[in-house]
Amino acid sequence: MKGTGERAADLCTGLLAFAVLAVLYAPVIISALFSVVDIRNGHIEWASFSLSRYVTLWDNPTIVTALANTAIVAVVAVVLAMGLAVLLALYAQWDGAVGKKLLELVIYLPFLLPPIVTGLSLLVAASELGIARGLSTVIIGHTVFVLAVAYRLVLTRLEAMPASLVEASSDLGATRLQTFRYVLLPHLASAIVTGAVLALTLSFDETLITVFLAGDMTTLPLRLWAMMRVGFTPEINALVTLVLVISLALAAVVAWRMAPEGRSAEE
């Protein structure tokens, strides 16, 4: 039934889509390939295939430190952001809430503004308060950055929850704390987990805010950036491949949890 024009449009946009996807996925493919084989004079030497770089990688103490820092920052920032997000979302859904629009604007700002503004504003504030740059300032920066995503996911779930559940709970004599513990929290649990994984992915990769707040401390993206500037070793490709696989796996988990099919199976 489709006209020829329509079919031609499908074909053209389809070709463009495949070209775009090829470019977008080139980083994974190229670094994965270069991490296992040598390139000499622009030719791939298949005979040199080896996974040794994935082993020698761990002999580099700066990489291990950077990875550990990244993990600490991500976990602490995500826990802080999720706690704050639940509190803020519960407030936003409360009937007596005032200033909700203003509060939401402040929550979303670090996500909407260029990271350079968020980064340097926290840097200036920390310096005015005499706080030295390091792990704690990076954690604050990441908390502020991922809060928007965490808040949005928790609030969406809270809005979808029938008010009758909370009313029923209090009618049956539950205290507010009991209602929170036995009704709200189980209902929010999956949104909290999804939000946490998404926030972990964002924190894992955050570069432009971190660079202002890190001081002498280093995270994985900062370490990679520094390594890129001095030239590169084959180990970098192995590291980069690992980084990409981890972030894509985390993102795929989020996508799977947020998928329409996934949700219906869950409820």
């Binding site: 980083p27 909407l112 503004l113 340097l120 964002l202």
Partner: protein, 280 residues
């Protein structure tokens, strides 16, 4: 009256952390932008000298305008490529649609630094682009034209920020009720007319909002220009960054960041307004 006061006290209790971590830092750097630096020490005299310097010095002013122009180009290129791709994804049915959507969104989560690193190696003198052009006999020797210039910054930013354009366009297309499309074709419109009279106008607000989002992202980027732009890839974000690093003039950097903030806020406000215009 008393009750209203109580509500605001609760608001203050809840809002104190976000306000302290977001608004107070922004206020502190804006205050800093009115100070000046002498002998590596910040002199706390209130003056507009930093702003006068930005607007009075053609180098800074020119870099600012040049950056706005670059961001505009990134935005237009991202829409020109992103719209057809989003349209293609939207035209798929069922699982295929979700699968393609996932494929276009996942690169958002691939490490930013890694993307820069591989794009730099693709654009470089021994990179894939040169190898491909050589292989096709389109050029005779590897070209230096693709790296360490403004064009490289433009291409790299477009690739990095493209998924941010595709997603909002797709969401705008998906919001169009199918019965409007059926009605249009029942009334005898060809696919082309339906696209021009129904699909395009209804997806335009979401598309513009997505475009403006790409603009803001490109505006603040200071690592891409440095990594692929070399010495000729000087953008406003990079100038701001250098004031907080090598140049060590925080108040002046803060003033330039103030200009960046004002620009970003205007663009975000515009995007919010355009998005509110959507008709379905």
């Amino acid at each position: 009256m008393k009750q209203a006061l109580g509500k605001w006290i609760i608001f203050a209790g809840v809002a104190v952390i976000p306000f302290a971590l977001v608004l107070a830092p922004i206020a502190s750097f804006l205050v800093l932008s009115f100070y000046r630096v002498e002998n590596n020490a910040i002199i706390r005299d209130f003056s507009l000298a930093n702003y006068a310097n930005i607007f009075g010095n053609p180098t800074y002013w020119g870099t600012f305008l040049g950056t706005l122009w670059l961001c505009l180009e990134v935005m237009l290129l991202a829409i020109a490529i992103g719209y057809p791709v989003a349209w293609f994804v939207w035209r798929r049915q069922g699982r295929a649609r979700y699968f393609f959507l996932l494929l276009t969104v996942l690169p958002l989560f691939m490490s930013y630094i890694v993307k820069l690193y591989t794009l730099r190696s693709i654009l470089g003198i021994n990179g894939l682009l040169n190898q491909a052009l050589l292989g096709l006999n389109l050029i005779e020797k590897p070209s230096l034209l693709f790296l360490f210039n403004q064009r490289a910054v433009l291409l790299t930013m477009t690739v990095i920020y493209l998924p941010f354009a595709i997603l909002p366009i797709f969401l705008a297309l998906e919001r169009i009720p199918t019965n409007l499309l059926h009605a249009s074709s029942d009334l005898g419109a060809t696919a082309r007319v339906t696209f021009r009279r129904v699909v395009l106008p209804l997806s335009l607000p979401g598309t513009i909002a997505g475009a403006l989002f790409v603009f803001v992202l490109a505006l603040g980027d200071f690592v891409t220009p440095q990594m692929v732009g070399g010495t000729s890839g000087f953008t406003f974000g990079r100038v701001v960054w250098s004031q907080f690093g090598l140049a060590y003039n925080w108040p002046f950097g803060a003033a330039m960041a103030g200009l960046l903030l004002a620009t970003a806020l205007s663009v975000i406000a515009l995007a919010g307004y355009v998005a509110s215009l959507r008709r379905v």
